[in-house]
Amino acid sequence: MNHVLEIAGLTKTFGGLTATDNVSLTVNAGEIHALIGPNGAGKSTLINQICGELMPNAGHIHLAGRDITRLPPAERVALGLGRTFQITSLLDDMTVRENLALAVQAREGGNFRIFDRAANRAEVWDEVAEILAASALGPRAGVTVADLAHGEKKQLELLMALSQRPRLLLLDEPMAGLGHLESQQMIDALLAARGDCAMLLVEHDMDAVFALADRVTVLVYGRVIAAGNADEIRANPAVRDAYLGEEDT
């Protein structure tokens, strides 16, 4: 039972379309598990089921041994689930610092207090300062999120997710839209975080996947067609055929 995440027989249909078809996989503690597959294979759908935005038609999800299949999203978070979004999703009118503070505050609790001053919660702001100091975003702390560059937003998303101190982090295409430099920074950030939590990584950037993943699961048309370590997957003809093609990067 050292699986952080265990998914068994997860099935989700939209009308006649089966987006995830009897998917089973596990993520071990401290592991980065990559989920790859062609567009429309059902990766985001799977992530959304794990975090509770979609309800599966069948199957089970266990987080650290607890059945969370029917729990509302907020309770899953309390049990240690964090995520980033495929399309960045932040609080656009607030600054980087405020975004982080809210994330920390959400974790710390005491959120029904109406007579305190959020600005005076030292435990929150100290932690935010710490996080920022350790991150490349430090100098941008006072910038409003709407004015951030794309890569910076992605970085911030990651920081916010990590500040929840999750056991398992769901990452939906963290490299999307990033240039080489930014991708490399993101990879470094993820590698640095890998000690703290397990990750389920959805990504199309194969360089990143192969640099990061301990194990890879390949999803095609909602089904798992292969699973294994990076080399096995790279060598798998079915995967090459359905997904990798003749890489010419």
Partner: protein, 233 residues
């Protein structure tokens, strides 16, 4: 066909483009390269009339088109595949393709629904589905198809392969190659340096809102070291 001189633009008070110059000839494939946030998308938006230029000139066949309304620019023969796809979520795939379809420049073999479905079979399978429920990659194909259906003289692809599976990515590159072979002019923005170098005739590199380097693919190879610093490899 298109020439941009010393273009300046920005969002509200903040200026993003300071000095952009580029030009595209008929049948040419050119690229715009640069790290994140250097102003590639902003350049495209300004050319398309989605942002008002603050200075400089945009000329199309010798005619100044800077500051024209976007629909007028588009009608001149610009087909945009925008960053972030921006398909119409409440329309079906088919409707997305036909709603704005046109053949204003009377292309001899215009794009049709059938030809698009042939190019992207996945879209054919999803023809009746709302675009909002497509996967990211499917939406990207739709955005390309939608732009092609306006039969543009200049096709602008802003990060058209973002978020696509490697197979699809190569498919798109094949499509671009095919289009190029047919004589389609294309303005390409992408991250995949090696492909761009192979596909395109000429390149423009942006750094902080300025064009800092211009040249052919051959020159690019020669200047690789400097260029890679700008592009961030």
């Amino acid at each position: 066909m298109l020439s941009v001189q010393n273009l300046q633009a920005g969002y509200g008070a903040s200026q993003v483009l300071f000095d952009i110059s580029l030009d595209i000839k008929d049948g040419e494939v050119v690229t715009l390269m640069g790290r994140n946030g250097m102003g590639k998308t902003t350049t495209v938006r300004t050319i398309m009339g989605l942002l008002p230029p603050k200075g400089g000139a945009v000329q199309y066949d010798g005619r100044a088109i800077g500051g024209l309304a976007p629909e007028k620019v588009a009608r001149l023969g610009f087909g945009l595949v925008p960053e972030g796809r921006q398909v119409f979520p409440t329309l079906t795939v088919r409707e997305n393709l036909v709603a704005t379809a046109a053949n204003r420049l009377a292309a001899k073999s215009p794009w049709t629904l059938a030809r698009i479905y042939e190019l992207f079979p996945r879209l054919g399978e999803r023809g009746g589905q709302m675009a909002a429920t497509l996967s990211g990659g499917e939406q990207q194909m739709l955005a390309v198809g939608r732009a092609l259906m306006t039969n543009p003289r200049l096709l602008i692809l802003d990060e058209a392969t973002e978020g696509l599976a490697p197979v699809i990515r190569s498919e798109i590159w094949q499509v671009v190659e095919k289009l190029k072979a047919e004589g389609q002019s294309i303005l390409l923005i992408d991250k995949t340096f090696s492909v761009l170098k192979r596909l395109a005739d000429r390149h423009f590199i942006l750094e902080k809102g300025k064009t800092v380097w211009t040249g052919t693919s051959a020159e690019l190879t020669r200047d690789q070291a400097r260029v890679q610093a700008w592009v961030g490899i």
